[in-house]
Symmetry: C2
Subunit: 528 residues, 2 copies
């Protein structure tokens, strides 16, 4: 009865009614409505994200062109307001071809880094156009781009907005202007934001950026009129990572089927050898044999069932680890330099792990710790997270790095730790995940997703550091114990001396000697 | 010098080289590579996400059609393997029109719920097609859909995959088959997964779903052959939410400009009145006047600067709160029933807040707590999170709900809490965020993003519950104190009696009377 009345009270929608509402959604409409996914959920974070996307792009461009980056970051309050800023980021990179400018800055999911396997800061083709879209949503102002690709001549000047319904750029102004003598790019976005220093600020992001990228020079003009200059600490660019093919371990069936379908190789063996990394002539032959498939079979003819055999043959074949050259780690020396420049501590340790692979994609984990010194003793450890040399500030709880730190049993290394939480003590932990494709937990790229393979490597890196720390802590504890004993001896022996002086009728000189002898004797026996 | 050599060692890429690599990225390519964003980062979660997307869709479809949902969830191991499953979800909903089936299940960003403001479980048009894409990537198998929109006749049968490069469905098989006598939809996906019970399992998701949706009947056949039946606890469907217009508070400049541009209204006043909710004839006139804009101005002629005046006029005008009818809360009774069916506790409290608005979008927060009883006393509080009646299991750390629970000072309500962590004690906290558009922290929809307005409401709801809890805890503490004092009196008065008996030479009967009198007197004075 109740069922009946509940149904009668409303107009029943039919399948036809529901069908009428079905529509395609453009990716820019999607991200405009979900802009928190891109890091624009509050004004403070929006300002940081905008700076970050622009700086990351500039650094990528300079490095790919083999240029030591020289970056200018300028944030100015608009009309002296506290909720609206003009962000401008300028670099000395190679510039952008005129015909590409509109799409790079005015279209989501457009870029050069998605369809390759190579470490870079940007990867999705979303960031900078999303920052522009956010500016446009909150202030109605277009993005302004100036770009120059040659030493002489004029620069291209664009003002543009995104047509969100179509996800296409709409050019407002297009011009040629006099600009710097050298190539480079400048992007300017006006947006609603909020400027604060301290934790999760633009300042913190820039400080950590310079720390993980010692080859970068940077000038920062804040909205308070303050100018900060970061000089490069190294004149050497990091190794240039090379794009690689996917590693066969961790490749999935559907992806393999797609690759067999798309390959230009004439047969399965050739496809294995040339479309993947680390598959030798011999490996390829072994895999085909183990799968019961002819080496000469046409890839496009391989059925699902055969592809499955191929996949399990791959998984049973011993292959070399993925090549490292698509990744450029920060390196132990630089991590130590970074830690030391950041905190005054007693102990510094770090480790760079060997590369590993998740879903066929190489990655590498580095970790460093600083302990003691000026670090606060009674608080949870501070964690500094990096992905592909980019500092991660927000979304700490969603990040595999934080999760691994909390999950590790730090008590066995001599630290305090409330159950399931961060260790407590004078501890700073730095973790860098570098990969040809970092799996971020959201498009804002502030947290690394918890793939089991990555989880494992982060944990191993933390354990290595923690073991080294334990040695220090044990030595320290031993030394403290020694100190305590020494103090004990030093405190009581004089009394014994005086007592003996009375019993044995010694003079003061004899007593002093006796005390010295006793002290030496006891210290010796304790050590022996 | 170092700079020079670093540059010489590499081939310099020019702007032209970089331009050659620029390409458009299809949204399905993007999510295929980033499938952890959709909840497919590990096999256990992949299984849960697949079930969840299918069940959420079924519940939405049934409710929109005014049908009490009857759902079948079936998970079967494929070839007795532990890493591959066939998930099938069947409902008694209205079915799907034949011409829509391929796009609904084989195209990302296609759906009926994105372009409206109304509470529903699905909203993005991604979920179920992403689950199918994951199945296809990991097993090479197509999605199988059976759908029927009429009582008699045959059902439509489809097998399809996604062409990820184009983000378009590819139909493998299309047929007409005999099926159930009544309308409904069945979707079957084969995928790599891992089945476990306990925390973050399909079982937990279904238990909590039934708890927040008492009008649902559900049969669950697990891969272990076990069948569980959940009977509906209520024969009444929840209130059917109505789509609404955006509320002017929280609307952004860029959005306002877009709306003025797109409107069918002939003048600004009409646009304000009909394209927004809660703007009366009078309000609209006031806003125009305050902005110094003629009521009769053509909306498309409004310049950026005028739109800005309009916006600040809107923000200064007192408008009614957004309408509630686009949201259907679980309600206090049902939250209490849910809590009580879930845990044996001493105290249950709950609160349903009034609706509020973020970015022009109405939302509402409900919270409940259970305290004491069988809940573990020494562990961090357990949090149950819901968004639009859907249980959220993963990504707890990324969720505004968890963040608000940790940020609240529970000590002032009488609970233990390590700094910045969850409160510790025999406590279960339930929070439900219901909205016409829930801002999720990632496309997997397992965490609510931390918009300031939502943060505030969640905190207020928690505080209300915590205040109620404090009253209980204080009474409890008072009672414990009384007990202690009573025990004290009961323990010492007999001794006093005996001492007085000796001094005053009383007989035993007199002593007993004295003790009784003293006890009564002391208890009386203590109460007075």
């Amino acid at each position: 009865m109740a069922e009946k009345s509940a149904q009668d009270n409303r107009r029943r929608l039919t399948a036809k009614d529901l069908a009428r509402q079905q529509r395609e959604i453009s990716v820019s409409e999607f991200f405009s409505k979900n802009r928190h996914l891109l890091g624009f959920d509050n004004p403070k974070r929006a300002l940081l994200t905008t700076v970050k996307e622009a700086v990351d792009n500039s650094l990528d461009a300079c490095e790919e062109a083999g240029i030591l980056p020289e970056i200018l970051v300028e944030i100015a309050a608009v009309d002296n307001r506290e909720d609206r800023f003009r962000v401008r980021v300028e670099d000395n990179g190679p510039g952008i071809l005129k015909r590409q400018i509109a799409r790079i800055f005015g279209k989501l999911l457009y870029g050069s880094k998605f369809h390759r396997l190579k470490m870079s800061r940007g990867q999705q083709g979303i960031g900078i156009s999303a920052a522009g879209m956010y500016g446009q949503i909150t202030t109605g102002k277009p993005v302004i781009i100036i770009s120059k690709t040659k030493d002489g001549g004029k620069a291209d000047y664009f003002e543009l907005v995104i047509d969100t319904k179509a996800n296409e750029p709409k050019i407002i102004t297009e011009d040629s202007i006099e600009w710097n003598g050298h190539p480079g790019t400048s992007v300017q976005i006006e947006l609603e934001g909020s400027y604060q220093r301290g934790r999760w600020s633009v300042d913190e992001y820039l400080e950590q950026t310079v720390m993980a990228n010692p080859h970068v020079s940077l000038t920062y003009r804040g909205p308070d009129g303050r100018e900060r200059r970061f000089e490069r600490a190294s004149e050497v660019l990091p190794e240039d990572p090379k794009p690689i093919k996917p590693h066969p371990y961790g490749i999935e069936l559907g992806v393999l089927i797609q690759m067999l379908h798309d390959t230009r190789a004439r047969n399965v063996k050739e496809c294995l050898r040339r479309d993947f990394s680390r598959v030798s002539e011999r490996n390829a032959a072994d895999i085909c044999q183990a799968a019961g498939i002819s080496e000469h079979a046409r890839p496009s003819r391989i059925a699902r069932q055969e592809a499955e055999s191929l996949l399990s043959a791959i998984r049973q074949t011993k292959l070399r680890n993925p090549p490292m050259e698509c990744i450029s780690p920060i390196g132990p020396e630089q991590i130590l330099v970074g830690l030391k420049s950041n905190v005054e501590a007693d102990v510094y340790e770090c480790v760079t792990r060997s590369p590993s692979v998740y879903r066929g994609i190489p990655f590498l984990v580095e970790a460093g710790i600083a302990y003691g010194g000026e670090l606060p003793a009674e608080r949870p450890a501070r964690i500094m997270r990096f992905a592909n040399r980019v500092p991660l500030l927000y979304q700490s709880g969603a990040c595999v790095i934080t999760q691994c730190v909390s999950a590790l049993n730090w008590r066995q290394y001599g630290l305090g730790q409330p159950s399931g939480s961060l260790p407590v003590g004078p501890l700073l932990i730095l973790v860098h995940v570098a990969s040809a494709w970092v799996p971020f937990a959201s498009e804002s790229k502030e947290a690394v997703a918890s793939y089991p393979a990555i989880e494992k490597e982060v944990t191993l890196a933390l354990q290595e550091c923690a073991r080294k720390l334990r040695i220090h802590l044990r030595r320290r504890r031993r030394e403290a114990e020694e100190d305590r004993k020494r103090l004990h001896i030093e405190r009581y022996i004089p009394h014994i001396g005086e007592a003996l002086q009375g019993i044995l009728n010694f003079g003061d000189a004899e007593k002093e000697r006796l005390v010295a002898d006793l002290t030496a004797l006891l210290q010796k026996s304790r050590k022996g």
